[in-house]
Homo-oligomer: 203 residues x 2
């Protein structure tokens, strides 16, 4: 079937829709905020680094500019409504943590940016690079600590992210993750290894 | 439930697992390659830009360095095996297009990098920025053209990416996308708008 050539757009998909929390010192104690970002991705394995893009009009932009840090919280199905709400409303107008029932907890290595207790995984990041190519400022963050909810760790220490019920975002639509289809390297695995790994993953 | 603090890692999830094609002039005509990248993300809306991270040991690195361009092809369930294979085998050893049954077609605005006919969507990109923070080189690409398979366009011109059967990658595991859970802004939509949009999306 043929392609229809269209005006360039942001159609990379599916992407995560994560909560990005940030903070800074305020006049009467620390202030913080949480927003949703789908313009995020892993950019380096060693050291582990991620990108998060933020419009300069956002309150989060001000907090990251001042603190040089942010925390990414992965979103699961229970966080769907919060993830949507924190993407459309501003923390300048209301406390979105309180509004969405999100509990701030300390994230190792962060001075101000909190993790969110309701999230399955957090990645605490310090800004390593900053680019300003247009509508968004791109923050390249080095992951300085990572927290995984204890029920997602199997007895052998493996992280079972496949049990986290994560959500994805695809061209304006949030979806659940569905059936497990394979594992990295399955296409070159022996039938025996394939059967064993798929049984583990589906079990 | 409590977080277990762990060594920092690349746990951002779910992420796309896209095919990245590239090319350059060779001694006996153009050469090209295709690899899989999960370290990719949208980084800017206007202009539309994406990041793709590539290890310098990869053949694709050489091609992008020489040509300054690449094409991202989204992956659906039919492309799952190709997406895995093109992530573990090198184009220096074999023609992965031929091996995986991928058909090269021209991508508007690209001198050498082909689109893949079997993919639902391609994003043709020119390298705008390049960062080298560690194991991977980060290419920030400006999307210069975009192709959408014609069956994904509804009569009103809307892109129905929710019908593309895309796959996601999450900590070493490929998954299908599942149930449609909501749309951007649903948490602040009126019940009437919510019902109408969800009916459209699920219909």
């Amino acid at each position: 079937m043929a392609f229809v050539t269209m005006k360039p757009g942001t159609l990379l998909s599916p992407v995560p829709a994560v909560l990005v929390s940030s903070g800074m010192p305020g006049e009467s104690g620390p202030v913080c905020n949480v927003m949703t970002a789908a313009w995020t991705g892993t950019v380096c394995s060693d050291p582990p680094m991620v990108s998060v893009s933020v419009r300069p009009s956002r309150y989060t932009y001000e907090l990251i500019e001042k603190s040089g840090e942010f925390v990414i919280s992965l979103t699961d199905r229970k966080l769907l409504r919060a993830a949507d709400y924190c993407g459309v409303r501003s923390g300048r107008e209301e406390d979105k943590f309180a509004r969405c029932g999100l509990t701030k907890v300390p994230a190792q290595g962060m001075a101000f940016a909190p993790a969110i207790a309701e999230s399955p995984v957090y990645l605490a990041c310090r800004v390593a690079e900053r680019l300003a190519p247009g509508s968004h400022v791109i923050y390249i963050g080095r992951v300085v600590s990572m927290g995984v909810r204890e029920d997602l760790l199997s007895p052998d220490g493996a992280i079972r992210l496949d049990r986290a019920d994560l959500i994805a975002y695809s061209h304006g639509v949030y979806t659940a993750l569905g059936e497990t289809l394979g594992f990295f390297g399955f296409s070159v695995a022996s039938p025996k290894v394939f059967a064993r790994r798929m049984k583990q993953l589906r079990g």
